[in-house]
């Protein structure tokens, strides 16, 4: 009497299919589609230029992606080889569990993202047979990467029992502070998973901003990467805020705390993050001939004040983000929070901003983006009142979602 591999696999697929939020799936789709758009844009730009790229060069670049893919897994993945309590207390041998872990690497989404993201590159630049071989090679390399990370991160058959970290920096005497608005910042600092993800992607976008600002042969790439960096910082952080608060929304709802206040806190937090991003990008103007401080200011205003506002329109339509989740079958606490509608809004606002920067002469795009940003600052209070009215109309539906993880 023992659990079979088939049962375990069925359990995992069922869990994935019944996960109401499909959050991780949407997040991965977002990443994949993002890369697809870039690849198609590069392909058509090169074709317009009449530039021919040798297939071997494409293959080498694609293979080069296995290294960041591996690094990404090292940074983001935690040891999830430990059995969940509901399995550990059942007749399931360690060897059977090890077999399942090995097998599950073949459909583990973190091993599928990289090859799928590079799928267009395989077939746009390389003949079909070669493209197929390259795609399979990338997939197997990613699976191999998954095995390496799993082996390195494996810490035994028990959840680590670390000494509890102390967060006490203030006594009750001096404990009065911004605890309502502070939820944003503290949740970011205290959730390892949230912090790691945010830092990783921030560094990723910032490094690309530096690289492209040094390359004046394609000036648009510099401002695009700076724009994406600022957009990520100002729009992502507030989005996570509601998913974190959803965990304890009952405790907020039953207290005299206005929803407008929660929204305004997130808006200001996004503004702060975007401004910090803008300040980090300003030095890039020193060595970049194509990047102007006004582009950066316009990007900050547009992303932090306008996009951030639009993104918050539907932010409460989320499921709780389990910041402390562990073990295998709980998706490492990531069963939230990207929604299909959010992805559409994200692409739309990014598209508008990028189209402005690309198609309009410098000062025109700066004026338009800044004007939209300033419009956001002027309109945010009435806008949030409208958002709150929408929230209140459907509040029970949302609150039910928060409690039914």
């Amino acid at each position: 009497m023992a659990l079979k591999l088939k049962t375990l696999a069925k359990l995992q697929f069922r869990q994935l299919s019944r996960n109401k939020s499909k959050g991780r799936l949407y997040g991965d789709i977002f990443g994949v589609v993002y890369f697809w758009i870039i690849e198609f844009v590069v392909f058509f730009l090169l074709r317009e230029d009449g530039t021919t790229v040798p297939p071997i060069a494409v293959a080498l670049v694609a293979i080069g992606f296995t290294i960041p893919d591996l690094i990404l897994k090292f940074v983001l993945e935690r040891d999830n080889t430990v059995m969940d309590a509901f399995l550990k207390t059942r007749p399931l041998s360690q060897s059977r569990w090890a077999d399942f872990l090995a097998l599950s690497q073949f459909w583990n989404e973190s091993n599928l993202v990289m090859p799928l993201a590079l799928l267009p590159a395989c077939f746009l630049f390389i003949p079909p047979i070669g493209g197929l071989i390259l795609f399979v090679a990338l997939y197997l390399a990613s699976v191999l990467g998954g095995y390496i990370v799993m082996a390195v991160k494996h810490r035994g058959n028990y959840q680590p029992e670390k000494a509890v970290k102390s967060y006490l920096s203030k006594s009750v005497k001096s404990a009065r502070g911004n605890y309502i608005s502070g939820i944003q910042f503290r949740s970011f600092l205290r959730s390892k998973r949230l912090k790691t993800t945010m830092i990783y992607f921030s560094v990723f976008f910032y490094v690309y901003s530096i690289i492209y600002s040094l390359d004046d042969t394609r000036p648009i790439f510099g401002i695009v990467s700076v724009f994406l960096f600022i957009c990520f910082l100002s729009c992502s952080m507030p989005q996570w805020g509601f998913a974190v608060e959803a965990n304890f929304f009952g405790g907020i709802w039953t207290r005299p705390i206005a929803i407008e206040r929660l929204l305004a806190n997130k808006y200001r937090f996004g503004l702060l993050c975007g401004s910090v991003g803008g300040l980090l990008c300003l030095p890039l103007c020193i060595w970049s001939e194509s990047l102007s401080p006004f582009d950066i200011i316009a990007s900050v205003l547009y992303c932090s004040c306008f996009c951030n506002l639009l993104m918050l329109m539907d932010a409460y339509n989320c499921v709780p983000f389990d910041m402390f989740g562990k073990a295998f079958f709980n998706n490492q606490g990531s069963s939230s929070t990207y929604k299909g509608a959010t992805i559409i809004v994200t692409f739309a606002i990014m598209g508008v901003g990028l189209a402005c920067l690309h198609l309009l002469p410098g000062w025109k795009s700066q004026v338009i983006l800044s004007a939209l940003g300033l419009g956001g600052v002027i309109a945010y209070k009435p806008f949030f009142r409208w958002v709150v009215r929408r929230f209140m109309r459907n509040r029970y539906k949302y609150m039910e979602k928060y409690t039914s993880k």
Partner: protein, 236 residues
Amino acid sequence: MKIELNNLKKQYNSNVVLDVPTLAIGSGELVGLVGNNGAGKTTMMRLMLDLIKATSGSVTVDTMNVAEDPSWKSVTGSYLDSTFLIDIYTPEEFFGFVAEAYDISEQDLKLRLQEYETLMNGEILGTGKLIHDFSNGNRQKIGIIAAMLVNPQLLILDEPFNYLDPSSQIVVAKLIRKMKRDLGTTVVVSSHNLNSINDICDRILLLDKGRVLMDKPHVPGSTDQELEDYFLDAVK
């Protein structure tokens, strides 16, 4: 504070989980809700706190409909489950959060926390731990303290004795009685522990499959044979 439930009904599809034609809880009453699993105790409390939508009917607190007028929040303390706790905060920060929400001064917060020192038993403040890292019992205590800290006129507690050691159960029962006596707080408390309910409540409501089966005054400290018989009969 007076609470009234008028034609209150909650149903999921065709399944009626709560159906209370009328119920009034007077100001300063300490009401215990009892009933087996699925009786509708928590649903009733969630409706009182406007956490779920009533299929029909309303809950009013001092004539204010809780679904329309949020002013009840300023005078209500509640703890239903761990979703009322901010896991990423230390207890100090969480109490600070509550104080900020209710505009309680720093000095006042400190004084009020002293009243709960016996319950905290030196295990809650000053540990530096996040609420997430506390045991279920201590998390329960933090939630109860945060609800009572605001000196509410209405206190709603769902299963407050769960996870608590016997000594802490006695302390919580005393604190609830004291709050009612000193502040005239209206208290609604649910529990599966009949002894605790018998000890503190002056009115007991027995719920069964969403309906109020029994509603009777009670002398705190006495036992209710009719109530005990109901639960004994349920297993026969």
